[in-house]
């Protein structure tokens, strides 16, 4: 029994990933990022987005559990994709934010 409980807790606490995209607004930013994520079996769970003074600002909460790509590889490829589109794309484990802003 204790083993089972641990497994369930383990799944629940599986860390999510936060992808942020910041930069000058152009056509197709979300499409390009989502295409990349779909190709790599990354599931998007939530998107919030604002435009501040012409600057595009998006945050996605995604689950990389189904992806076979190494995490570091994804961070680097998303960074490169950002350079192509002309925006800054960061891909970070959610813990860095929750630990800092939640007790």
């Amino acid at each position: 029994m204790p083993e089972e409980i641990n497994t369930i807790q383990g799944q629940e606490s599986m860390s999510k990933t936060i992808i942020t995209v910041v930069g000058k607004d152009t056509v197709g930013i979300i499409a390009k990022v989502c295409t990349y994520l779909a190709e790599n079996q990354v599931n998007v769970e939530d998107i919030s987005q604002t435009i501040v003074q012409g600057y595009f600002n998006m945050m996605m909460i995604v689950d990389t559990g189904g992806s076979t790509k190494p995490y570091a590889g994804m961070v680097i490829e998303l960074d490169e994709l950002g350079e192509e589109i002309g925006v800054r794309i960061r891909c970070q484990r959610e813990d860095i934010f929750t630990k800092m802003h939640r007790i």
Binding site: I18, M59, I61, Y71, R93, I96, K99, M100, H101, R102
Partner: protein
């Protein structure tokens, strides 16, 4: 669930305010490496460090990438070598060979510094301790990444004045031995009173005998983040000021705690402590002096500086303590001169003297750190400065340290460049009145009274 504002706040801290984890330091006990044969000892030390440290740098990079927070340094601290090499080393030359082994192990694991070429002599020196201390100039001149420290006093034991006298001479000899390189050897040599066993910061890190076989310690940073937070409360009262520092220190420390736990889990080595120190770097906006000036000082060194530093140090601890499960090391604000652009500027404009820095060390975490002094400063004067700092630490039950660089061939008004994180420093004036007769007395200063404190 986390929201976009919080995510942006964290990323702004990292990208614009230079939030980083200053160091992941792997502490390694070398007590089980002892051997009577010097070659066997060297082999044991090299094998153990490279075995435990082989994944340190790559793991650090992995964490950096996945969490998007820079981890500036990956380092190793070992058991004070005087304790490990006693049976095998019979002369200072033997010790220098051990230093070469440590340097090789540091290069092989890819860490930029390895600390623990150290001796603990707070009450007395064994012949081994003395041989190690006498080998320091040659060891630091012939190695690249080895750092050395000597603890020569404590609140419980008093101050070993024989060691104080000797260390004044050793600092000078180290400066001479590395004079081609701006006396850089002295930047890798710290003299302590009340040295902690779990300090992750160089040059004073060593793995104390109270520690486990191996342990992961993390040093956080973030002067830029605190300064930015204080920009938002200009002119507000001290309650608001203190609360702001505290709240920001909490957030900074949480990042350090996360990195420490991740590193510990991935390396399979227990988590030791998070060190809460605010450590500046020479880059603009990463300055402890900048925080003090943001509080309302025209320049660091002005009247009010000691009070400002005291409140900063205390609030950082109050905020950080709750953010981490284990706090240790030095934990406070560092005030190195050469590594902090604001301190350098203050010295250059004549606002900050060694005497004021000494007063500041009474309320901050370490001591007189990375201060360039004239190359012709007598050894007895350096010893006098060490004795003063050790006395502050001994009486106030705190860690104090001295890392002075007598720059051979340079005098007051000139500037010396150390490079990288070590920065550059203007050579500062030292009080010219002598203290040789005081230093030459020899013996010990007894431990202080632990009651009747005023």
């Amino acid at each position: 669930m986390i929201n976009i504002l919080e995510v942006n706040e964290t990323n702004q801290m990292i990208e614009q305010e230079k939030l980083d984890v200053r160091t992941i330091t792997l502490g390694v006990s070398l007590l089980d490496c002892c051997d009577a044969d010097l070659d066997a000892l060297n082999r044991n030390i090299y094998d153990k460090i490279t075995r435990l440290g082989k994944d340190l740098v790559s793991t650090g990079r992995e964490i950096e990438l996945e969490y998007g927070i820079p981890i500036v340094n990956k380092r190793i601290a070992v058991t004070p070598i005087a304790l490990v090499a006693g049976r095998a080393c019979r002369s200072p030359e033997d010790f220098v060979e051990v230093a070469a082994t440590l340097d090789k192990a540091a290069r092989n694991t890819g860490v930029n510094f390895l600390g623990g070429y150290s001796a603990i002599v707070s009450k007395g020196m064994t012949p081994t301790d003395e041989a190690l201390i006498r080998s320091i100039p040659a060891a630091l001149a012939s190695t690249e990444r080895v750092c050395s420290s000597v603890n020569l006093g404590s609140t419980k034991t008093g101050i070993n004045m024989d060691a104080v006298k000797l260390m004044g001479e050793i600092v000078r000899e180290t400066a001479e031995a590395t004079k081609e390189n701006n006396s850089l050897g002295c930047a890798k040599l710290v003299v302590f009173c009340n040295a902690p066993d779990d300090n992750p910061f160089m040059a004073g890190a060593f793995h104390g005998v109270s520690e486990a076989d191996a342990v992961v310690n993390v040093g956080v940073s973030g002067p830029g983040v605190i300064k930015h937070a204080l920009e938002g409360v200009r002119g507000k009262n001290f309650e608001v000021l203190c609360e702001t520092v505290k709240r920001t220190a909490f957030k900074v420390t949480r990042a350090g705690q996360l990195v420490a736990q991740e590193a510990s889990e991935r390396l399979g080595i227990p988590f030791g402590i998070v060190d809460l120190s605010l450590a500046p770097t020479p880059s603009v906006g990463d300055s402890v002096a900048g925080i003090l000036e943001e509080m309302g000082l025209e320049s660091v060194g002005a009247p009010g500086t000691t009070a400002a530093l005291a409140l900063l140090n205390d609030q950082v601890k109050k905020g950080g303590i709750m953010a981490s499960s284990f706090v240790g090391g030095l934990s406070g604000a560092f005030i190195p001169v050469s590594e902090d652009q604001g301190m350098i500027d203050a010295v250059n404009r004549g606002a900050l003297t060694i005497e004021k820095l000494e007063a500041m060390t009474c309320v901050c975490s370490v001591g007189l750190d990375m201060i360039a002094i004239p190359g012709d400063t007598p050894a007895s004067t350096i010893s006098g400065i060490i004795a003063d700092e050790a006395a502050i630490g001994m009486i106030n039950q705190k860690t104090t340290a001295v890392r002075l660089i007598p720059v051979i061939g340079k005098d007051v008004g000139e500037t010396v460049e150390f490079g990288g994180l070590l920065g550059y420093a203007p050579v500062q004036r030292v009080n010219g009145f002598g203290c040789a007769d005081f230093i030459n007395r020899g013996g010990r200063i007894p431990a202080p009274i632990h009651s009747f404190k005023n």
